[in-house]
Symmetry: C2
Subunit: 143 residues, 2 copies
DNA sequence: TGCATGTTTGGAATGATTACAAACAACAGC
DNA sequence: GCTGTTGTTTGTAATCATTCCAAACATGCA
């Protein structure tokens, strides 16, 4: 298996999680597909080729551990399934109502880094838009 | 049944939907519980007392129609179930990770009214925070 | 070597939501 | 007042993402 796991082991351990083989390959896959916002099912499907013994339950367990540890962000935009993203910089998202894609949106947001609001403690900030992406608008236009 | 349905019929009709008895009582219930962010199940449970024949499927159908018509907002914050809100003014939300409540957040947001971003068409803007509400922080503190 | 703890596994269970087909209601044209 | 059409409601069954659970496994420490 050709993997460039440099650092991932340490990243996992630094959050207090055991860097097991399963956790490393899952985080590696997320790191290689940063813009894709994959579902647990998709991750499991992609890993199956190289690691057929990896169970779907382990994928769910691992993703939940990563989210709890603040390593990965869970996006609940669609309402039907959770999409996972390896966290780098805080940013917003757009869900295209036509093709279902989720697109990263780099936009100025004064609330993105807030740690408290009206006396509430804030741990996560999520901003997302629903609309139609450029590709789908062009398709629409050409019909 | 003491209902003040004044206007609801017209509101429903104005969006191109037939103002059936079921639709009116569901919208009435949402209008009376604006801050509660109810689930379909909760709405169905509350209506059952007065209207035992109302089916859960109808509640789902009705809410979906309302959301499609832009009359009601679907909140997919929790990731486990959709919560519905009778739309008035655009605002943000906070999900308390301890008690599970969703709280309206009135906050200045320069992106709340945007109709397009980077060439994408924007139909809905959602901003939400995950953290801990004041009540739960106090409880924590007193332990 | 043996025990303790945390992880993985697969199959079964759960729970929210949708699909489906039959019954129903409203309403236009006759 | 009847009849057909269209959209709505209903209940049950199906779907699908996710979690539960108990057994097998891995790791590391006494």
């Amino acid at each position: 298996m050709i993997t460039n796991n440099s650092g991932l082991k340490e990243v996992i351990a630094s959050r207090g999680l055991k860097p097991t083989a399963q956790r490393i390959i899952i985080l590696d896959h997320l790191a290689r597909n940063m813009k894709k916002h994959l579902t647990a099912e998709q991750i499991h499907g992609a890993m199956r080729k190289k690691t057929p013994m990896l169970s779907l339950t382990t994928v769910y367990n691992t993703l939940n551990s990563f989210v709890d540890a603040g390593l990965v962000t869970a996006l609940t935009i669609t309402g039907t399934e959770v999409r996972y993203e390896y966290t780098t910089v805080s940013h917003h998202h757009l869900l295209c109502k036509h093709c279902g894609r989720i697109i990263d949106i780099e936009i100025q947001c004064p609330n993105a880094e807030r740690k408290s609001i009206n006396g509430y403690r804030v741990d996560e900030v999520h901003g997302y838009f629903k609309g139609v992406c450029r590709d789908c608008m062009n398709k629409e236009h050409n019909q």
